[in-house]
């Protein structure tokens, strides 16, 4: 990446001032709480700052959480099923060895046996019932897990109260650190329950209801358009509308449509499957239409096709009706002919690429802010609930960081904007939101320039923005809220210019 990261975003090699300050506060707290129960937790918190960002995948039952996790990792790891499947919160981390560990409610952990033949991992709970296990941890050497630890969660709205409770405990834990730094929230259509959940996930201390750590995913996007070939276009339209809905903007940064099953299958497509699909593609259009009218018909009609019922069943399971329709059409029209080409086509159409890009610019670019935020929140909670001699100073330091660190100010203005508390002309507000990183932390995103813009163009745009917002901050006609926000924007512009100079 030739373009330097924005202020506060950090790029790993050179720790950001925010991360340094957070470490300092943690170190001070470790001193204060040495020898107490909390001491151990503080060590974990400090370690957490060096670990990959923790992203939880949450949503109502059957929203396709495990499928999306597999698609993001690019392997079939998490088991998926037609009925409710994930009943235990499961962490997927990168590591040197393949290992599955069960964490028990009493704090103990136990290593479990597992096996994996060409499909998802089958874990043997070794005599434990799902109720007796509080969390599972799967360590798996994987490039994708190196950037983020993924957490698969049981669905909200499950008929089993306890199963749903676990997800709440994980993401909306009260009075404790939230184990996840950010959340991908899967929804098939926005329900009231989804909104409740998202609001509960957001803390109220660092910033008001805050969309900064959540991205909405319109999942099973192919099914929204009832598996028509243009289903993804329809889903994209819906996602765009949802992303501009003020109620949705308050709780998630943006909404991306993803056909998870398609993405998962594309990542693991085999030549055998392509050969099978070619048989369907070879049919005249009319006959293929009639065969693919329903899943049952695909399973049972046209025995002369040369596909066994087991093969057909497995195709449906892997692709879904939409996937079979789309893949056979692509093969017929010769848009793709090999497994590699077909996989590329399906990946592109599944929307997973767009999601990866959004994840990168909204989560991974900001990972240090998000991680610091988690750590500071935990510290704040600790000092409030377990005061000790010296914890006052820790609380003061935490509050000092939270109220003064520029990335947090940006987040606060961003959430105030999203909540509709800052008023002004729509184009001015849109400009403001972009400048403080509302649509991504890269400089070109903040300055609304193409990704390949050169340094001169970036510098010119940043200087212009600086002048513009200085004027707005000083204009007596500007409302109080907007002028406060404008000062933050000015500081963002200065930061950007400084970055551009430093990298010269």
């Amino acid at each position: 990446m030739s373009v330097p990261a924005a202020p506060g975003a950090g790029d790993g090699a050179r720790p950001s001032p925010l991360l340094t300050r957070t470490r300092h506060a943690l170190a001070r707290a470790t001193e204060v709480y040495r020898g107490t129960e909390a001491g151990e937790r503080l060590v974990e918190l400090a370690q957490r700052l060096d670990e990959p960002l923790r992203v939880a995948i949450a949503g109502r039952i059957k929203a396709g959480k495990s499928t999306l996790l597999n698609a993001l990792v690019g392997e079939q790891l998490a088991p998926t099923d037609a009925g409710e499947c994930t009943r235990i919160v499961t962490w997927y981390r990168d590591g040197h060895t393949y290992r599955v560990t069960a964490r028990l409610p009493d704090g103990d952990s136990r290593q479990l046996k597992f096996q994996r033949e060409d499909k998802a991992i089958e874990i043997d709970l070794g005599g434990l019932t799902p109720e007796q296990v509080s969390e599972l941890e799967v360590t798996w050497p994987s490039q994708a897990l190196r950037t983020a630890t993924l957490i698969d969660t049981p669905g909200i709205g499950s008929l089993s109260e306890q199963v749903a409770r676990r997800t709440w405990d994980l993401l909306a834990a009260e009075d404790e650190e939230t184990p996840a730094d950010a959340v991908l929230y899967l929804m098939r259509h926005l329900h009231a329950a989804d909104m409740d959940f998202l609001r509960a996930f957001h803390d109220t201390e660092v910033s008001q209801p805050n969309p900064v750590n959540a991205i909405g995913v319109l999942s099973r996007a192919d099914e929204i358009g009832v598996c028509r070939l243009d289903a993804m276009a329809s889903a994209r339209r819906i996602a765009n509308r949802m992303a501009t809905d003020p109620n949705v903007r308050r709780v998630v940064q943006t909404v991306v449509p993803v056909a998870g099953l398609l993405a998962e299958t594309a990542a693991t497509l085999t030549e055998t499957e392509v050969a099978q699909l070619r048989k369907v593609a070879a049919l005249p259009v009319r006959e293929a239409d009639s065969l693919l009218l329903s899943a049952d018909r695909f399973l049972n009609l046209m025995p002369e096709l040369g596909l066994t019922s087991l093969e057909r069943e497995s195709l449906l399971q892997r692709f879904g009706l939409f996937g079979v329709r789309l893949a056979s059409t692509l093969l017929r029209r010769e848009v793709a002919s090999t497994a590699t080409e077909l996989a590329a086509q399906l990946t592109e159409r599944s929307g997973i690429g767009e999601l990866r890009e959004v994840l990168r610019s909204l989560f991974f670019q900001r990972r240090e802010v998000l991680k610091s935020r988690s750590a500071l929140l935990a510290l704040d909670a600790l000092t409030r609930t377990q005061p000790r001699p010296g914890s006052d100073a820790v609380a003061a330091e935490v509050e000092e960081i939270i109220s003064s660190a520029h990335p947090f100010r940006e987040l606060r203005v961003l959430s105030a904007l999203r909540a509709g508390w800052v008023t002004g002309k729509p184009e001015v507000l849109a400009d403001l939101e972009r400048l403080i990183g509302g649509s991504g932390s890269d400089l070109h995103q903040r300055l609304e320039l193409p990704p390949d813009a050169d340094r001169a163009a970036l510098t010119a745009a940043a200087s212009e923005a600086l002048a513009r917002w200085q004027r707005r901050a000083q204009n007596p006609m500007t409302s109080h809220e907007l002028s406060v926000a404008a000062q933050v924007a000015v500081r963002s512009c200065e930061g950007m210019l400084a970055e551009l100079v430093n990298h010269r």
Partner: protein, 604 residues
């Protein structure tokens, strides 16, 4: 009173026959008042209205289901926007559409069929909240609907405990049957199961339809899971899996095999046999019961005359009796009649009780809201709070409305009971002088049973006309939203450490007060609207019951007057004339008794 499988259609024909015979008899005996009563029954029999409400979470394929049942694109279907207004799909000679406004009587404004979409879908710019229609009515020439079936497509439930869920429940309570729609993408959720349990208590005939079986290869597994969930919860309703896509294709290509594959024939069978059949069976029973009641009155009149003719010595006694009865019947019409007093007092009590119940409920909600506001910052939780408040209030309104319904039914029964006591006495008195009681014991039992069957019905008629099934949707839509007004900017964006905490606290308190006031305003508005609605409904019930029983008293009066006149005339007749008249009367009585037996057979 659920007719089993086939006989429903037969029952309607039989009932129509006895009603026609009854009307002929009334006209022959010069009793236009009784004939009018039977004509009303006949009209109802010929044009039954059977409301079937289609409910479910949004985007489950409710509109597609309605379209697939009737065959054609009537309800708009879209990937994104959902149905926002209830749509009534009923039979008509040619396709027409109209907007329905909730006025008394409901006002209909014709619109072009193509425009239905504009009005029904969400975010419709045409709908000014102040003058929102309460629904859209679409009439289409379809054989399936010609039996009086009205399919009501409703907005989606929208999550557990939402305001819409309460509205759907209210609609279900007034409906003749309920179709619950859920797709086979996933098993039933907790909120769906909970909704079904509540709806099952409010509506007798329900079916759970699983849609989109074409898309999901594992729909059979989902069906089995759903059946398991329902069984575990003790909800005993049929589950029918369907595919609207296959049905549409089947209709377009006239493909019978594909139609069978779509699963719709089973749903249509359920609608025609269980729902339509059930309702027409009930209507047939009610019509036949009317005939039986009319026969009883006519018989009593003739029996009195026959007693006078048969035994001139006792004729004087009969006349005395009848004169006495006349006073009683007149008393029945008077304002001081016990049934009338019961009705007036009952409505007054009911008004007070319903109002008190509403106030109590709203007060509890306000207190809970205050408490919740105390504990949180409205800036964070206000939108949660509003949806909580809306749904909480909607459920309390539903409970209040159910209370009204139950109490009104009870009152209607009480009035019926008092009227029956008084009038039954009248009828018995006429029969007393007869040395050989004509009514067999078994028939007397039947008479009581029939009377029981009609008890409470009057109140329901009034309620149904008042609420029309989906009125709660309108109530919720019409009420002004809960607005907090502009709130202070959350926190000082760049304030120092000390100031941040203090300022936050101060603003928080201000917001809390603002929120409490907003809640009060909303609750006031709700009480006002709902209070007016209940009073209107009760007034309608009162009018309905009063008119019904006044007409009945009038009929009895007429029967009695005729009997009295005939008995008085009997005194002046010669022996020969009397014998002739007795033969005539016996013949008439035999005819009436046969008719009544026929009517009873249908009513059973």
């Amino acid at each position: 009173m659920m007719a089993p499988q086939r006989p429903a259609a037969g029952a309607t024909v039989n009932a129509a026959t006895v009603v026609d015979l009854g009307i002929q008899a009334c006209e022959a005996y010069d009793r236009p008042d009784l004939a009018t009563r039977l004509k009303v029954a006949k009209r109802r029999l010929a044009d039954p209205v059977v409301h079937v409400v289609v409910v479910g979470e949004f985007k489950q394929g409710k509109s597609s289901l309605v379209n697939a049942v009737v065959g054609g694109t009537i309800c708009p279907v879209d990937d994104d926007v959902a149905t926002a207004l209830p749509t009534y799909v009923r039979h008509g000679p040619e396709p027409t559409a109209a907007l329905i406004y909730d006025e008394d009587p409901p006002r209909r404004e014709p619109i072009a069929v193509e425009d239905v979409r504009k009005w029904v879908v969400e975010h419709s710019p045409l709908v000014d909240p102040a003058q929102r229609p309460s629904g859209v009515e679409v009439r289409v020439p379809r054989k399936l609907l010609s039996a009086g079936l009205v399919l009501v497509d409703t907005p989606g439930v929208g999550g557990l405990g939402s305001a819409h869920a309460a509205a759907s429940l209210a609609a279900a309570a007034m409906a003749d049957a309920l179709i619950f729609v859920t797709d086979t993408a996933q098993e039933l959720t907790r909120s769906e199961v909970q909704f079904l349990r509540q709806a099952g208590e409010l509506c007798d005939t329900a079916v759970c339809v699983l849609t989109k079986t074409d898309l999901y290869p594992y729909w059979r597994k989902i069906r089995d899971l759903d059946v398991g969930h329902l069984r575990r919860e003790g909800i005993d309703i049929p589950v029918i899996p369907v595919s609207s896509a296959l049905r549409s294709r089947a209709i377009a290509t006239n493909d019978t095999a594909l139609n069978a594959e779509s699963g719709y024939p089973e749903l249509v069978k359920f609608l025609t046999e269980r729902v339509s059949g059930g309702v027409s069976g009930r209507l047939a029973s009610e019509a036949a019961a009317e005939v039986a009641a009319v026969c009883t009155q006519l018989e009593a009149q003739f029996e009195a005359e026959r007693a006078a003719q048969a035994d001139p010595a006792s004729a004087r006694q009969v006349v005395d009796h009848l004169s006495e009865v006349k006073q009683r019947v007149e008393a029945l019409k008077a304002a001081a009649a016990r049934w009338n007093v019961t009705l007036n007092d009952g409505i007054a009590d009911l008004n007070a009780d319903v109002d008190h119940d509403l106030r109590r409920r709203i007060r509890t909600v306000t207190q809970e809201a205050d408490q919740a506001i105390e504990e949180t910052d409205p800036a964070d939780t206000w939108s949660e709070m509003t949806s909580w408040l809306e749904s909480r209030v909607a459920h309390e309104l539903l409970a209040n409305y159910t209370f009204l319904k139950d109490r009104a039914t009870l009152l209607s029964e009480e009035v019926a009971e008092h009227f029956r006591e008084a009038s039954g006495e009248v009828l018995d008195h006429i029969a007393v002088p007869n040395p050989t009681p004509m009514l067999a014991k078994a028939q007397v039992d039947h008479k009581i049973e029939l009377a029981k069957m009609k008890i409470g019905k009057q109140a329901m008629v009034a309620l149904k006309s008042a609420y029309g099934g989906a009125i709660m949707f309108v109530m919720l839509g019409a009420m002004t939203g809960i607005t907090l007004g502009p709130i202070g900017l959350g926190i000082g964006l760049v304030m120092g450490r000390k100031g941040l905490r203090d300022e936050k606290k101060r603003q928080r308190t201000a917001r809390q007060n603002q929120a409490k006031n907003a809640v009060r305003r909303y609750c006031d508005e709700v009480s006002f609207v709902m209070g007016k609605h209940s009073r209107d409904t009760l007034r309608r019930i009162q009018r309905q019951l009063r008119d019904h029983y006044t007409a009945l008293a009038e009929e009895l009066n007429r029967s009695n007057a005729e009997a009295l006149q005939s008995a008085t005339e009997a005194l002046r007749r010669t022996q020969a004339e009397r014998e002739q008249r007795i033969r005539d009367l016996d013949a008439e009585l035999t005819r009436l008794r046969t008719l009544r037996k026929q009517a009873m057979a249908v009513a059973r």
